[in-house]
Symmetry: C2
Subunit: 519 residues, 2 copies
C-alpha cells in the first residue's frame, strides 16, 4: 500500500468513527409527513364512510365483557348480535383516547415518544421460516433464531424497537411458546418489545414474568417496556373474541396495546384500496372505543394494518406498490385522528435477499417514513410476504432504514445552508470547488449518513478489495455482533428466580457464548 | 400436475394476459406531486437565493455568441467576464419559456407530454462499463451493448424513453462515437431518444443523419424524436463553452434540449443539500435565459441534476438517501417555475444487481415519481454510481418502475371505491369474505400491477418450481426480448442511403439475428 492511499484510509477511518447522539444525521423519532397520498377531501370521505360502517354494519363477536362495557357507553347491541356505534359515540371515545404515548425500553435511552408524525422503524410479523440464503433454503425457525434476532436488534442502530418477527417452531406448547418468546426478548435486547399472546389464561404467567423482570409490579407499571400486539379483529368486521379478552387483561395490567386490523384486500377486505382503508379505519375505531371503554386513555396504537393480495392467486403481496400506498394512506388516516399509528412496511415477496427484495422493501419503507407513520412494523428482515425471516437481511435492512431515515429527516433550509456566501467565496475568490471547504468538513458527519456494510467503492477499488459480496458481508457482520458479549440480559439473581418459577427453555446466557449458531 | 392446479394455472395465465392500454393500472405520464420535501417558505428562500446568486455572482465562460445574445436581452457582462442577470430579466425570460412540451417518439404512440407533475421514467448516463453479473466482473461497454440496451428499452413497458446510458468504448473517434450512438438508438427503438454531442462541428453530420432518418428536414422538425442532453454548465457557475455552442445549434435545428446542471455536493457544489439546490437552480435559470435568448419558447427541460458525494472519500454516491432528497427537491423547484423537469434517480452505488442495488434504486426512484418529476433519468440499469450499466438490471428495474408508477398513480377515492355497499353485502348477507366478489374480479387487472419476472410464490411453490434465481430470470428475459425480430429499425432504403453517407459501424440489422450477444 502506498503512503498516499494509507493516509486516505486513515482519514476515512477517522471520519467513520461514531458520532455523539445529538449530532447524528438520523435518529429515532424524526418527523415525517411530507408525503400525503390522500387529499383532505379523500380523508373526509374515508372518515365519513367509516362512521357509516360503524353505525349501519357494526361488528360481530364481541365477548360478553366487551358488549357490556361498550353498550354501557352507548353502543347498540342488535338482534343480529352486532355492536353498532353512532358517530357521536365515536367522537366521544376518540376524545378520551391518549394522543401521545411513550413506549419504554428496559433502558430509558431506548424510550420512544409517539407524537404526530414521529417515525420509528422496527421488526414485526410471525414468520415460520428462517431464510438460509447461502444454501437457498427455508427451514423452520427456532427459539435460538428468535434470541439471536433480539441480539441483533439490540445492536443495529436503526432498529428502534423489537416486535416479534417469528414463531419458534421448536416450542410446541402454546403457553411455553408465549413465555419463552417474552423471555428470549428480554434476554436479547433492552429496546421496547412487542408480543402477542394467544389466550387470556396465559396472562397471569406473562405478567408474573414481566413483574419479576422489572423487579416488581410497581416498577413494571412505571415503565412498561413491553406492548401487546393485539389482533383484536377478524376482518371483515368481527371482533376476535379471545384476543379481545387478552387486550382487556393487558390494559388492566398496564401494558400498551397495538390494536391491529390486518384485513387483506380482495380476501378479507374490499379489493379497492380505498375500501380496504375504510374497513380498517372502522375496525380500528371500534377497537379504540373498546380500549377506552375498558380504561379511558389507556395507551394504545391505532394499528391500521391492511395487506394486499395478488388477486390472480389470492396470495398476499406485501412487496407490492399497492401495499406501499395502503400503508402510507393508513399513516395519514391515523394522523388525521391524532392517534399513535402503527402499520406494516418493508415486506419483500422475494424469498431471498436479492435485488427484488431490496426494491420491494425500500419502496414501502421509505413511503411509510415519509408519510409520518409512528411505528413502521415488519420493516426489517421479512421475506416471502412474511413467511420467512432473515438475520442477514436484518443487517442489510439496517443500512436501508438508515437511508430511509435520512429521507424522513428531509432538507434543512436555513440562511447558512442556502450557502450564498460559500458560493461567492468559492466562485469569485476561491479555488472554484468546495473540496476541503470548512462547510464541507462541518457537514460531513452531521448532514450525511453512511452505510455500515453497503459498498460505495468504485469498480476499480471494488476489484482491488476482492469484489466483496453483500450477503457475505452481512453474514460476517451478523457473526461479529453475535460474538459481542451479551450485556443486556436479565441480572443473575432475577434470572435465577425466573428459571425456578417459569418453564424457560433458553439455555443460560453464559452457555450461549460457546454455542454455534446457524449460518 | 393435477387437474386442479392446471385449472388454476390456466386462470392465472388468462388474468396475466395484456390489457388494453387505457385500462392498464399504470402508464407513462401519471401525475405525481403528493410528496413535497420543501415547504412553500423553503421554496421561496431557495428562489430568492438563486436570484441573488445570478445577480451578484453570475456565470463565467459563456461563448461570444452567448454573451452577445444574453447582453442584448439585458444581462450585464462584467470586467471579470462573468454574466450577471437582474431578477427582472430572469422573470421576463421565464415568461417566454415553453411550459408544456412534447417529446416525440419515432412512433407517435411513444410521445410524452411534459406538463406539470406528469412522470416518465427512462435511462440516462454515461457508463463506461457493462456489469457482467454472472462472472462478477466489469468490462468495457461496446456499440453492441448500446444497441441491445435500445432494443430492450423498446420492449420494456415502463421504460418511457431512451437516453444514452453508456459510452461505446469500441468506437475511438469522437465524431464516429456520436454518430454511431445516434444510429444505434434509431435502429433499436422508436421511443424518444436523448443523446449528448461533444463538438459543434459534429452537428452538421448529426442533423443530416436525423433528417435522412425522418425522411426530410421538414419531417424531422415536425416531430423531433431526439433531444440533446446538454451539460451546458461546469459547476460552480461556469458555462461549458463548447456545449453551449452545441445547444445553440440544436435549438436552431429544432431539437429539444435538456439543460443539465450536474454539480456534486461537497465537490463542485456546496456540501449542504440546500446550497446545492440553490446553485443548480441558479445555473439552470441561466441556462433557460440562454435558451430563450437564442429562440424564445424553444423546447427545453429544466435539468436540475445535482449529485451527492460520499464526503469521506469525495466519490459520488448516487445511491444515497441524500441523493433521493436532492432529486425530489429539484423536481419541486422545477414545478414551482412551471417548467418541464428532468433529474437523476435510480442510481445504485452497488456494483452488482444485489439487495443493496435494489433498495438504493427504489428509494430515489419512488421519491422522484411521488415528487412529480417529469423525466426520471438514469432510473434504469445503472450501477457503481453511474460507472456501470447492466442489461439484466434493466429487466429487473422495469418491474421496480412498474411498482413505483403504481405508487405515483395513488389511491382513487370515489363513492364506488369507498365500498360501503360491498361491505354491507359481504358482512350482513354474504359469505363474510370478498374472494370472488364482482368488485374483486373487476379491479384485478385495472387496480393492481403485476411484475414480469418478480417472484411472488410462497416458499412451498418456490421450492416446487426449482427455486428460481432473479438474475437467471432476468438473463432469460433479456435473451427472449433480444431474440424478437427487430421491427423498428430504419426502412431498408433509408438505411442503405445512410450507410453510404455516414461512417456506420453497426452491422446491418439482418446480420444481428445470428449474432451471439454477451451474457
Amino acid at each position: 500500500m502506498t503512503r498516499r492511499s494509507g493516509g486516505r484510509s486513515a482519514r476515512v477511518a477517522l471520519r467513520s468513527a461514531p458520532l455523539a447522539e445529538e449530532l447524528r444525521p438520523v435518529r429515532a423519532g424524526l418527523i415525517g409527513g411530507k408525503y400525503k397520498p390522500l387529499s383532505d377531501s379523500d380523508i373526509a370521505a374515508i372518515h365519513a364512510s367509516a362512521l357509516q360502517v360503524l353505525e349501519e354494519i357494526g361488528l360481530a363477536d364481541a365477548p360478553p365483557s366487551g358488549v357490556e362495557a361498550m353498550t354501557a357507553a352507548g353502543a347498540v347491541y342488535g338482534e343480529d348480535k352486532r355492536l353498532r356505534f353512532a358517530p357521536a359515540m365515536v367522537d366521544a371515545m376518540l376524545g378520551q383516547a391518549s394522543k401521545n404515548i411513550t413506549l419504554h425500553g428496559r433502558n430509558a435511552k431506548h424510550d420512544l415518544t409517539l407524537s404526530p408524525n414521529k417515525v420509528h422503524y422496527g421488526t414485526g410479523g410471525a414468520a415460520v421460516h428462517i431464510v438460509d440464503a447461502k444454501n437457498r433454503n427455508y427451514r423452520e425457525s427456532t427459539l435460538l433464531d428468535l434470541y439471536q434476532s433480539a441480539r441483533l436488534a439490540e445492536h443495529l442502530e436503526h432498529v428502534h424497537y423489537f416486535q416479534r418477527p417469528l414463531i419458534t417452531r421448536d416450542v410446541l406448547d402454546n403457553y411455553e411458546l408465549d413465555i419463552n418468546t417474552l423471555y428470549a426478548f428480554m434476554s436479547g435486547t433492552q429496546k421496547h418489545i412487542g408480543i402477542s399472546y394467544q389466550e387470556i389464561s396465559y396472562m397471569e404467567g406473562v405478567f408474573d414474568l414481566l413483574h419479576m423482570a422489572a423487579g416488581s409490579e410497581e416498577k413494571w407499571r412505571e415503565r412498561p417496556f413491553a406492548s401487546n400486539t393485539n389482533c383484536f379483529v377478524v376482518p371483515p368486521l368481527k371482533f376476535a373474541t379471545e384476543s379481545c379478552l387478552v387486550m382487556e387483561a393487558c390494559i388492566r395490567g398496564g401494558m400498551p396495546v397495538l390494536m391491529l386490523s390486518a384485513g387483506q384486500a380482495g380476501a378479507t377486505a374490499p379489493a379497492s384500496i380505498t375500501g380496504t382503508i375504510v374497513q380498517a379505519v372502522a375496525e380500528c375505531l371500534a377497537g379504540f372505543i373498546y380500549v377506552n371503554c375498558i380504561k379511558p386513555g389507556a395507551p394504545a396504537i391505532f394499528g391500521l394494518w391492511p395487506f394486499v393480495s395478488d388477486l390472480r392467486s389470492g396470495a398476499m403481496s406485501g412487496g407490492s406498490g399497492e401495499q406501499a400506498l395502503l400503508t402510507a394512506a393508513c399513516a395519514q388516516m391515523g394522523s388525521f385522528y391524532g392517534l399513535p399509528t402503527g402499520s406494516a412496511a418493508g415486506i419483500a415477496d422475494s424469498k431471498m435477499p436479492d435485488m427484488q427484495a431490496g426494491y420491494e422493501k425500500a419502496i414501502s419503507n421509505v413511503m411509510a417514513g415519509l408519510s409520518g407513520l409512528n411505528m413502521v412494523y415488519e420493516s426489517i428482515g421479512m421475506h416471502a410476504s412474511l413467511l420467512g425471516f432473515s438475520l442477514e437481511s436484518m443487517i442489510i435492512d439496517n443500512d436501508m432504514i438508515g437511508q430511509c431515515l435520512r429521507c424522513v429527516r428531509g432538507i434543512d433550509v436555513t440562511p447558512e445552508s442556502l450557502a450564498i456566501e460559500t458560493m461567492r467565496e468559492v466562485c469569485l475568490n476561491g479555488p472554484g470547488h468546495y473540496l476541503g471547504h470548512e462547510q464541507t468538513l462541518n457537514l460531513m458527519q452531521t448532514e450525511y449518513i453512511y452505510p455500515v456494510i453497503g459498498d460505495r467503492t468504485s469498480p476499480k477499488e471494488w476489484a482491488e478489495v476482492g469484489k466483496p459480496d453483500l450477503l457475505e458481508a452481512a453474514t460476517a457482520e451478523k457473526k461479529r455482533i453475535l460474538s459481542i458479549p451479551n450485556q443486556v440480559s436479565l441480572p443473575y439473581q432475577i434470572d435465577k428466580a425466573i428459571r425456578e418459577k417459569h418453564p424457560i427453555r433458553l439455555p443460560k446466557i453464559g452457555s450461549f457464548h460457546g454455542m454455534a449458531f446457524a449460518e
